[in-house]
C-alpha cells in the first residue's frame, strides 16, 4: 500500500483542479431535492408522512446523483493516457482502484450530506436524534456504493455512451443497498428503534467487504490489462 497515499494526493489534486465540475454535481444534488419537494408540494402531505418518505427520497437522491457524477471518474485518466502509464509502471492496479475509491467516496459522502440537509429543509422534516446511527448507515452504504460505482465506471468509461451507461448498469445492482439504507434510516427517523444487531447492518458490512475486494481484484480486468 506504499503508493496508496501518493495516488490519493494525485487524484485529490486532479479533483481540486476540476472543482467547477464538482460544483455542477453540488447543483445537481440540490436540483433533485428541489424537484422532490416541488413534486410533493401539491399533495399537501402531513408531517408524519413526509418523515416516512424522507429516507426513500434521501437515498434515491444520493444514489442517482452519485451514479451521474461518478461517470466521469476515469475521464481525466483516459484523456491523458494515465491508465496506460499506470499499467506500464509497476503500480499495483488494486491500489489505484482503492485510491480512486477513496476520492469517489468523499464525493459521494459530500453529496449525501448535501441531500440530507436540503431534503430536511425543503420537506420540513424533524429528525428525532440518532445522528450517530445515521452516520453509521451513511458510512456503510456509501462505501459499498462507491466501490461498485468506481469499478463499473472503469467498465463504462471506454464506451461511446458512457454517461448513460454507468447509471444503467449500476443502479440495478444497487437495489440491495437501497433497501438496507432506506430500512436503517427509517428505523432511526421514523420508528426510533435502530438495532445495531439488525440483519441490514450485517448485510451492508458484508457488501462493503465483498464490493471493495471484488473491485480491487477485477479493476485490472475492467481497464483491459
Amino acid at each position: 500500500m506504499s503508493r496508496f497515499f501518493p495516488l490519493v494526493r494525485a487524484y485529490g489534486r486532479l479533483e481540486f483542479r476540476e472543482r467547477e465540475i464538482s460544483a455542477l454535481y453540488v447543483f445537481f444534488v440540490l436540483l433533485l431535492s428541489v424537484f422532490f419537494s416541488l413534486a410533493l408540494s401539491g399533495a399537501y402531505l402531513e408531517a408524519e408522512i413526509r418523515r416516512k418518505i424522507f429516507p426513500s427520497l434521501l437515498w434515491i437522491s444520493a444514489f442517482v446523483s452519485g451514479a451521474v457524477a461518478l461517470g466521469r471518474s476515469f475521464e481525466a485518466d483516459l484523456a491523458h493516457r494515465a491508465l496506460d502509464a499506470l499499467r506500464l509502471s509497476r503500480v499495483p492496479l488494486g491500489e489505484v482502484f482503492l485510491a480512486k475509491l477513496f476520492i469517489n467516496w468523499l464525493e459521494v459522502a459530500a453529496g449525501l450530506v448535501l441531500s440530507f440537509i436540503s431534503l430536511v429543509v425543503l420537506l420540513d422534516v424533524t429528525i428525532p436524534g440518532g445522528e450517530l446511527k445515521l452516520l453509521l448507515t451513511a458510512l456503510l452504504a456509501s462505501i459499498s456504493f462507491s466501490a461498485l460505482a468506481t469499478l463499473l465506471s472503469a467498465v463504462s468509461i471506454f464506451s461511446r455512451i458512457r454517461h448513460i451507461l454507468l447509471p444503467v448498469i449500476l443502479l440495478p445492482l444497487v437495489v440491495p443497498l437501497l433497501f438496507a439504507a432506506v430500512e436503517l434510516t427509517t428505523q432511526v427517523v421514523v420508528d426510533k428503534n435502530f438495532d445495531i444487531d439488525s440483519p441490514w447492518v450485517y448485510l451492508l458490512l458484508l457488501l462493503d467487504v465483498v464490493y471493495v475486494s471484488l473491485g480491487a481484484w477485477l479493476f485490472p480486468h475492467a481497464i483491459g490489462e
Binding site: 467498465v155 463504462s156 471506454f158 443502479l171 440495478p172 433497501f179 471484488l214 477485477l218 480486468h221 483491459g224
Partner: protein, 226 residues
C-alpha cells in the same frame, strides 16, 4: 479434417435435437392433456409448469455466465467469452418469460398484473440486471468488451442472491407468491411428474439455446464481425 469424427458429432447433434423436440412435445401433452385442473385455480394453474421451469432456466443461465466469465478472466478464451455472451442473452429471455407468465397467472388470481411481493420484485430487479449486462455487450468498447462483460457478469451473479435475500428481509412485503415446491403442495403424482418433466425439457431447451448462440458467437468472432 477428420470426416468420421465430424460425422459422429453431426449425428450426435441431430440425436440431441430430436430428443429435445420429443421432450418438449411430451411436455406440452402432459401440461395440456394429461394433468388434471388444479382444484382452486383451475386451468390457469397450468402456466405454473412453464413459469417455474423458466425461473430455473434463468438461474441456471446466470450460473453458466458466472463460470464462463471466471474462465475467460483466467484464460482469455474466445469460447468462454462466447459462452458468457450466449448465457447472458438466454438468461434475459427466460427471465422475461418468467415475468410474463407470472403476470398472466397473477391477473386472474390476484386481480392485478403486478404486486410488490418478494419473488416478483426480485425477478424484476434480476431482469434489469440482465438487461444492463446485455446493454454493455452492445455498447461497450469493442477492444475490451470481453473483459468488461466478464467483470459485470461476475458482479451481477454475486449480487443476485443478495437481491433475493434482501427482498425477503423487507418487513412490509407480504409473501403472496404460492410456496408450492417448498410446502410440498403437489400432492397428485401427475402434478409432480409433469412438474419435473417440464423442468427438464425447459432446462434442455436452455442448454440448446446457449449452445447454438455460442456457435453463432464463435462464427462471428472468426469472421471478425465481433
Amino acid at each position: 479434417m477428420n470426416t468420421s469424427a465430424s460425422n459422429a458429432s453431426g449425428m450426435g447433434e441431430r440425436a440431441a435435437i430430436l430428443a429435445l423436440w420429443l421432450m418438449i412435445s411430451v411436455s406440452l401433452y402432459l401440461v395440456f392433456m394429461w394433468v388434471p385442473n388444479e382444484r382452486e385455480m383451475g386451468a390457469v394453474q397450468r402456466i405454473f409448469y412453464f413459469h417455474v421451469g423458466s425461473a430455473f432456466a434463468t438461474y441456471s443461465a446466470i450460473a453458466v455466465s458466472l463460470v464462463a466469465s471466471l474462465i475467460y478472466l483466467g484464460t482469455k478464451s474466445r469460447k468462454a467469452d462466447a459462452v458468457n455472451e450466449a448465457a447472458a442473452e438466454v438468461a434475459l429471455v427466460f427471465c422475461s418469460l418468467t415475468l410474463l407468465t407470472g403476470m398472466i397467472w397473477a391477473r386472474p388470481i390476484w386481480n392485478t398484473w403486478f404486486r410488490g411481493e418478494p419473488r416478483l420484485v426480485s425477478f424484476l430487479v434480476l431482469w434489469m440486471i440482465l438487461f444492463s449486462m446485455n446493454l454493455l455487450r452492445r455498447f461497450g468498447e469493442r477492444e475490451r468488451i470481453a473483459s468488461q462483460c466478464a467483470v459485470l457478469s461476475i458482479v451481477s451473479a454475486l449480487t443476485v442472491p443478495v437481491v433475493v435475500f434482501s427482498i425477503r428481509l423487507l418487513p412490509q412485503v407480504a409473501q403472496l407468491h404460492p410456496q408450492v415446491v417448498e410446502n410440498r403442495g403437489l400432492r397428485d403424482p401427475r402434478f409432480v411428474t409433469a412438474f419435473w418433466f417440464v423442468n427438464a425439457a425447459v432446462l434442455g431447451l436452455q442448454a440448446y439455446l446457449i449452445w447454438i448462440r455460442t456457435r453463432i458467437g464463435m462464427l462471428e468472432r472468426t469472421l471478425g464481425v465481433r
